[in-house]
Symmetry: D4
Subunit: 255 residues, 8 copies
């Protein structure tokens, strides 16, 4: 894959003209097929081609990894000049990372460790992050921080749940000005339907695990969002602020 | 229970004064304790005291009963001069009932067989039945017909789902004029939250089994309603228009 | 919305008669449409119009909010002379609130912080809170405290589960004297059905998360209550004593 | 297993005394270990020792078997003089069975095909089958027919659901007279808790799949029964009238 | 109820003959109807008639009650000379109880506090408690301790799971000698089916919450047991050793 | 809303100058607030402003509506010159619609009735619809037809499931050329993760209800997609080809 | 992939020596990368390399495909001389296939259409298919037919459920003689645990959807098998006889 | 069972010839049937015949057992010269075991205590353990340690999730060289499908409980694997690395 058609043609022309040794060409082709585009740490394979393939370097999902593992991966990423993003990071993970990447920043409310470098392109419009209630803020902030780091202009509109719609209606112009909207809500998860009823841009719904008993850790909100009667709504996993931001950023970077 | 304190005192006074035979008094007391206030059809015990206890005669739930069973129960109820209500009734059940209770009426869109008699008190205000979409109408009609038969003034407001809120906002005065509101919705079940945000009267939410895949036969709407972030909302079972009307009528008959 | 028809007509008459500057009238109308009826704390929008719309000030749901956030919202509410109610409050939250609202009271068994002020109307009858077992008391107390604060006369009837029905039957007159009944039960959740069989007033069922293995954190009780064979029963979320009280109060405040 | 200690001793004595050939004894012991106590039909192995082990011949569960398969098994059972019981049988299955076992009887309301023979012992007391509603009758009848065929005196008490407790209270003496009680109920499944509160004999609860939406085909009733707050209640599978009768009969046949 | 037919006749005869004052008789009848057969502690109503109705005094379910509440209820029960049983009791609860009921005994492996008094009748046979694995012991011991306290002769057979059937087969005679068998198992819950295949006495299955991932806290075992292909098996709630013992004891006390 | 700031200012200037009667202005303002931007059919409120708000006219969801209801709504939409789209339409619905809108087209494999009119803007790139297997085609076709009708250039890539990845790898250039990709898959729902690993554009995942037993009508695929380890994936409801197309079209119409 | 290292070296040597035109070599390499190893039917891509990769040609899963689609795929497979296997095939599908592949055979009890050709290698031992009950036969036969067609010697042992273990014990030698065992069971799914307790070869468990109420279409059996306390058991999807046979055949073809 | 045919014949010949006392022979036969092939510790029955039946000694599942119980069982196993394996072991359990079995080794990352002895046969090929992400390592290591101890050559291939397929493709030759492959993955669980698409050997899938919200503790991965569209995949319980290794070892030890 990393051997383009153009390079292959040049190589074969060289062989034909005697300028290139056939054994060299053979090695080159086989190499291209076998060189892994990642760095193997034993317990992890850091993917250095992801920025090429997907527009943003590999992101480190902090849950289930030890601080030492996170720090080792972070050091490998930062050392290549890539922007660093660790989600679901604890303070302990942050300490471990900053011991090896001192410029890294920790945003506790979002659970995010990051280091902005120069390799990320700017998005074209605004990503608006809407949250239904105060309890949804950690997830909303994970989304906002991620979207910001991925090169997007980010705005926030918080505590505008459907039980007091006037709070949302007061900010309709901000809804209408966004290029893509992330809506974070727990409980019954109805806010994305209402927001999507007012706009024509894509709405990405994030259920949160906030709520009384039968919210079942976000299932109620998740089902509510999947069953939205409004069009233009798609959904990511419960509490997955990062995922919503990645989708929003992909949309906002489209030409 | 059916022997009041007053009657017991009278009886004992009679015994003391010799006007009443002790054996008679004993029989009377024992009878009161043992006479079943119902009519036993073998497969069913028709409850003739329910109107006394609960303000409305026994209602026949049609599912799982044969047309012949339904007709027998209906005949027993109608013969006492009680108002008749059969829910979840098929056309076959209706035919069987009308063979023995010719004045009974069948409303196919609501699945309801009924015969209005003179034993039901009038409610004090209006019961407003709100439905989110056209597909929710069978359940909404079951609620509306039931509430009507139970002596309530009923109004309907249909197809006002949250994805096009202006349709609901156009009828805010009708929301505000109701004494109790039944809100019927499938899919994400968000409408009760929005309605309850505008009013101070009780809102009874009815999830329906309408929807795409992950609505799971109404579970999504049910969970959405149980997790409503608005206050004043309580919930009945999926598709249970009858149950909502019974609650609404109980509220509407309070002094 | 906050510009009534009457005020609009007065304004336009003023403009017509020259007493009112058209620019002033324009500003007034636009202001009415754009002034948010809430106070924006950044992380929360405190809704000061809720008492107008719904008869009780905004209630603070304590779960998922930091003590500092709760205290800030509580201070904002109390400073307006509104009655304060925080549910699911920990001792830490209470300490934070009382540092800024010293008159606030903490009821640990109910998890409720409150400050009674003069803005709440009285309900018309008694709200009876029935609990099946001793383990259901925290939820029952959340309901009782909330209903009390919302202006209702509250009575309690505890430990009357269906496995020893004589305990309930001994208090039938109290059931019959209530205007609305809240029934709190875990395990199989059968108590609301039994209670509703004796009365004609609305019964609000609250499942609790109490129980052995397959109670599944209250699902068994929730399903039991949704499937109640008695009429007049509606249901709120698991452990949602507050929600039940809000519904009961709405009913009890109806003319 | 089919070689008793007594028979083994006799055999070995015979070998010791020369009356029995050792090779014969060897074959006898090995035979006993290898002879299958069943008849192999290819698709089924009819268990002729079950009556010895468990007090009742093998019962044929009709679901998922073709009429031809059912008829072949039934013929094999009947030909040995064993009592025949087929549950969940359709009319087609009945026709197929009666073509080969003409004396067999089909009870359509219970879905049971049976032929009473002389090999079943009588139980010691009465098995009372209680059903909450008319819709629960098919399951209750499966239980009653099975218990009757298994040698028990059976009584029925139907349509005594918890929403009208006076219907049950009127028959308390029959509850108290039973040796074991089967309680069949759908919806919230609360009846077993109430019944068990009045008696000291074992109560076997059978949830049925009757009900509105969130009864989920009997899950609500099943969970209600498993979480019964009354003691002395155990539960069988949804709609499993046969299983309840088998447990009741085992209890009723205890010395 | 606590006024027998005999006593009523005597009373009325007395009134008729002038030996009894009618006012006295009236009071007596009304008292009988209104005297609660329980002691009201405010947060709990201790049921002193249960031993009469159900053969064993009220049992205290420890989960969700504070040590102080448990101790108060225990003191009330013990003071009447009733046998005391508290299940799901922590060491703290035990300390609180023993401060007021010093003779009470705490069995930590079973989580049971008890005090044996003289009011419990003896069962007729042996209750055998079978457990599949070592991890199931706490539940098995709750069952065994409860059954013992309820007056039954109890035997134990532990660690005989189906993956090594020879361990069970080695003890077949003990299975056959029991009058009722409690089978406790986690994981796939297959042991009750196998046990029930060998015996004709009733088998009570108790699923436990032991297991890897998809055991789902005992749901796998619960479903396995409900779907048992063996007859004579009924099921109680997950980890409900007490409930199984109560059923077993009810069976074992049948004449 | 339908009274712009500009129009309001003009009106007030008119009143001020005497050119406009105050009563007229009042009526105009009140009318603007009360005129519903929809056509009320009684059972449905056809939303004629949706194209303005959301870029596409109201779509008719065919499930749960009668053919007569669908035809009436379709006629109302078509009569305004709006593009018509009915999803989940049966042949009967198609016949009813074409009786009143003869130019409408029915695509049976997609279950879609449509009539293309001139009111829909063109999208900017290609929407690629990828399907894992032949059984997923009905859902994929619903998505493709919807996206096409909404003004998008649509391409299809079918039967490229993850068990034979070479079939997908052979078409990588088509993946890379799309502006937004819809991936339709049943069973384990892994295809969106794999596709998203190759591209940087947004991927919209649609689970289908295709599969063996534990696919649970699409839940397995839904969960698989929600838990995608690839970034850039968002999800719509099971079998919701329409919803995916609406999201894709919203994205593809962004400037 | 289809261009081996050896062939590449030969090609480059040819270019170096002038025997091969560089443009030809380029085309050859690019062709190898781009030629899809499948036949594209539009709605399906028939995978002709699967036999090379996985030892058996592509299998057609009949559910969700029309008879015409199945026939077209079958014809394509058969025409290449590959062995044909269609699972979950109806009689209609069989008729359609046999119209174009007349030698194909339909086994109705297994739902399998097949045509044996000469391209399948023989396995090394016996695959034993064990079924718990008669109702499990369709799934067991799907497994047996598939394993047979995949080149394995197949034996069957049916109706040996755990409630009558002697039926299984009678055939222990056949269990011990197998190289791999497929165990098919519904209800509680306990049979695989028991079988695996007797043997050291791998056991593949197939849950079936047979059973009463709370078997939930095979979930009970699935969970039972996943939680097996015996080692050596792995599980395939509910009713997935084909999948079990594919695993068994892969094992049986290992050197 | 532990009395072979050969030994039985010898015994009977002895009785016939007078060399053996019949009473002795009787005792011998009865003993053989009753001697348990296990050591009874009271709370556990250590199975010393398992190595004979299943090729590996009994394994101790550490969850739910106290350190003291684990140590006692471990000592019993080690004292017989059997290889020791304890899974799900904490550091406390390790300390307890090593106090009595000092040579035992604790691998904390796998949660495994072991002591290799000489009683385990070698497998024939390589067991390859593949893990999708760094967070899956504890489960993968449990599998790898177990397989190693069971006599298999083990290789590891970690962090090769489907979102960056090139990481897996770089190691295809290792996939192709294995005799059996264990694939460990959380989140959507798609890796087994992809791996199985490249190889013909059996693939054993292990879902892990790693993931965001709607992974539901591994259910998403479990369902994904059960619904794999690739053939040759079977599944073990969530996080059950031990179980996967046991299956893999059984396969790898087949001749």
């Amino acid at each position: 894959m990393t051997l383009s058609t153009f390079e292959l043609r040049t190589l074969l022309d060289g062989v034909a003209s005697g300028r290139v040794d056939p054994a060299h060409a053979e090695r080159r082709v086989l190499d291209a097929l076998s060189t892994p585009p990642f760095h193997d740490l034993g317990f992890a394979r850091v993917d250095h081609h992801r920025a090429v393939r997907q527009g943003f370097p590999e992101v480190v999902f902090g849950l289930g990894k030890t601080p030492a593992q996170i720090a080792a991966i972070a050091a490998e990423i930062a050392s290549r000049g890539s922007t660093l993003l660790v989600t679901r990071a604890t303070l302990e993970a942050s300490d471990a990372v900053r011991a090896v990447v001192p410029q890294a920043v920790y945003q506790a409310d979002a659970g995010v460790i990051s280091l902005r470098q120069t390799d990320v392109a700017a998005g074209h419009g605004t990503v608006l992050v809407v949250a239904a209630g105060t309890s949804d803020l950690p997830v909303a902030e994970e989304a906002a921080c991620t979207a910001d780091l991925m090169g997007n202009r980010v705005e926030r509109l918080y505590d505008v749940g459907v039980a007091g719609l006037h709070r949302l209606l007061a900010d309709l112009p901000r809804l209408e000005a966004a290029r893509v909207i992330i809506v974070v809500a727990g409980m019954e998860g109805a806010l994305p339907s209402v927001v999507a009823g007012f706009v024509s841009v894509p709405v990405i719904a994030v259920p949160t695990s906030v709520g009384y008993g039968a919210s079942f850790g976000g299932i109620a909100a998740l089902l509510g969002m999947l069953n939205s009667c409004a069009s233009g709504v798609s959904v990511v996993n419960i509490d997955n602020g990062f995922g919503a931001a990645a989708v929003a950023s992909a949309i906002n970077h489209l030409e």
